[in-house]
């Protein structure tokens, strides 16, 4: 008999499987072609794209226009004021990584003249409860800093009522 023991570590690093913001790498094998979207967030702007060939607005950002296949896309700032289109509050069943923030409001807002010339975007809201909101409220987006794990710092956005 030569019984052996394999010792496993007590903890393992944050798994990309449960990290909600795992797709924001500028370079290396995990690089995303839309990294400028995250660079814009770091610089304080939530952006979509406009196709320079067919004029269509694009969100979420992509590297090729799905309407005309053009690669000539320019970044456009999402208008700062939008309209609350629908909202709820996640009271049960939050994904593991944002469990500590539940309950939080999940909303869909329309910016600009959607659908012809605007955007319909989902977002979290932390400053208002479900009861304080109504369809049609004026809202804005702002930048959300994602700190950690360790010294990692990434950027996202959230909505708040104006």
């Amino acid at each position: 008999m030569a019984r052996r023991v394999l010792e496993l570590p007590d903890t393992v690093p944050l798994s990309p499987i449960i990290d909600l913001w795992d797709q924001q790498e500028p370079d290396g094998p995990d690089a995303t072609g839309i990294y400028d979207f995250y660079r814009n967030l770091a610089d304080g702007e939530l952006t979509g794209q406009k196709c320079l060939s067919c004029g269509k607005l694009i969100f979420p950002p992509q590297i090729i226009c799905p309407s005309c296949n053009s690669t000539e896309l320019e970044w456009v700032k999402i208008p700062e004021e939008g309209e609350l289109y629908a909202f709820t509050e996640l009271k049960l069943g939050a994904p593991i990584i944002v469990e500590n923030y539940a309950p939080f409001v999940i909303a869909v807002a329309r910016f600009g003249n959607y659908p012809e010339n605007g955007f319909q975007i989902s977002g979290m809201m932390f400053d208002e409860s479900y009861e304080e909101l109504k369809i049609g409220d004026r809202i804005t987006w702002d930048i959300l800093e994602i700190k950690g794990p360790g010294d990692k710092k990434r950027y996202w956005y959230y909505f708040r009522k104006l």
Binding site: I17, L92, I96
Partner: protein, 398 residues
């Protein structure tokens, strides 16, 4: 295109099961083999497995050959796993149907399975955000309940649908589920009980939501020639359609209170079969949430757009109403093991046509049934049609 019949159907108990993924596959396999005693396993030449996220919930990929091993099947023609989230099961039926209809396969097996309950339920919730656009909607906490809550809020806002009308869908499906021994929930409920249950994502409470469920369901499909040897009660697959309006992320979804993809899919199916909504006797529809069934009445054409709430309030979707919707209790009673649900819907229609269900939920005289499966945040809609009549024999409707 050859005629294709479902010649056997078997199901496991659905629920929070003290059973692993492989156990569920074997239970469903045995159930369907017992249902077709004339079948020699060696006659099965193809296997399609519907499974949505085995790589997340049981950390296993390449599951189709695993199922072949567990069920003792040598596959010579077509084998694959299908994944379209909540409609992975119906997709498995569709590809098995196509293989037999094309003449590539003579006898094909379909297994739909999901094992969703684990000790790590918050991890399961993290898996569910991946069916929407993970990077842009999932990151905002978009699991299914909040998304369908937004749909409910908009439907109430745009069409005056009431909280009570949402609850009435659960009341109906709970009543039929109480006569389904395989269902996760077999208790009748009242409108008050639905509304007073725990809030999940307003306006939806716990009883407005289908559950997180373990379960499996299996079918045997056969060509007309083989079907004659295997059963006296074949159920024919007569049509199937799918539709996605290049929409996966919120920005592409338009008005949340309209499911344009389902409207288009239904129109395609009705033209394919030359039928009207009135010709449908049984509709198994994807009531993942109470609001879903209300939109489905409308987009399938059972009532006018915006009148789905009135349709349930008037009792039109009960057996004996305009169309029997979810006489097996739907997802709300059965639970929703993603890969198994679409197969369970077909199982229900087979059992209905054979008259092998309790009389309290039996739709007498039914000849045509449809099963509607949706996937993800209702971006993609899938419908199949099953009948006692052969596809080649019948001019449905006019």
């Amino acid at each position: 295109m050859r005629n294709v019949a479902i010649v056997g159907a078997g199901i496991t108990k659905f629920g929070v099961r003290e059973a692993g993924w492989k156990d569920l596959v074997q239970e469903a396999g045995k159930a369907v083999f017992d249902d077709v005693p004339n079948l020699d396993k060696k006659e099965i030449d193809s296997l399609i497995v519907g499974a949505a996220q085995p790589e997340r919930w049981i950390n296993q990929t390449h599951v189709a050959p695993l199922v072949a091993e567990l069920l003792g099947i040598e596959v010579k023609r077509v084998i694959s796993r299908t994944e379209v989230a909540c409609a992975s099961g119906q997709a498995a039926i569709r590809y098995a149907w196509l293989a037999v209809a094309m003449g590539l396969s003579d006898v094909a097996m379909v297994v739909g399975v999901e094992k969703m309950n684990t000790r790590f339920m918050n991890f399961s919730q993290s898996s569910m955000i991946n069916v929407g656009n993970r990077e842009f909607d999932g990151a905002n906490g978009f699991t299914a309940p909040p998304f369908f809550a937004l749909v409910a809020q908009r439907h109430m806002h745009d069409f005056g649908t009431t909280r009570e009308q949402l609850a009435m869908v659960r009341v109906k499906n709970a009543e039929y589920g109480s006569y389904n021994p395989y269902a996760q929930f077999q208790k009748k409920v009242t409108v008050e009980k639905v509304i007073e249950s725990r809030m999940v994502a307003p306006p939806l409470t716990l009883f407005d939501c289908s559950a997180i469920t373990d379960g499996a369901c299996a079918l045997i499909l056969a060509s007309e020639e083989k079907a004659k040897q295997l059963t006296d009660t074949p159920v024919w697959i007569v049509g199937g359609v799918q539709h996605v309006d290049y929409a996966h992320t919120t920005n592409q979804m338009g008005d949340l209170s309209h499911w344009v993809g389902l409207r288009k899919a239904a129109k395609d199916l009705y033209e394919m079969l030359n039928i009207k909504p009135d010709d449908i006797d049984i509709a198994e529809v994807h009531d993942c949430f109470t609001i879903s069934e209300i939109l489905e009445y409308e987009e399938l054409g059972f009532c006018k757009k915006g009148e789905g709430g009135k349709f349930i309030e008037e009792g039109q979707s009960y057996i004996g109403g305009k169309v029997a919707v979810n006489p097996g209790g739907g997802l709300l009673s059965n639970g929703h093991p993603l890969g198994a649900t679409g197969v369970r819907q077909a199982w229900e229609i087979v059992m209905q046509f054979r008259g092998e269900v309790p009389k309290e939920r039996y739709v007498g005289g039914a000849e045509l049934g449809i099963a509607h499966n949706l996937s993800g945040m209702a971006q993609l809609h899938h419908i199949m049609a099953y009948s006692l009549k052969k596809r080649s024999d019948v001019k449905f409707g006019r």
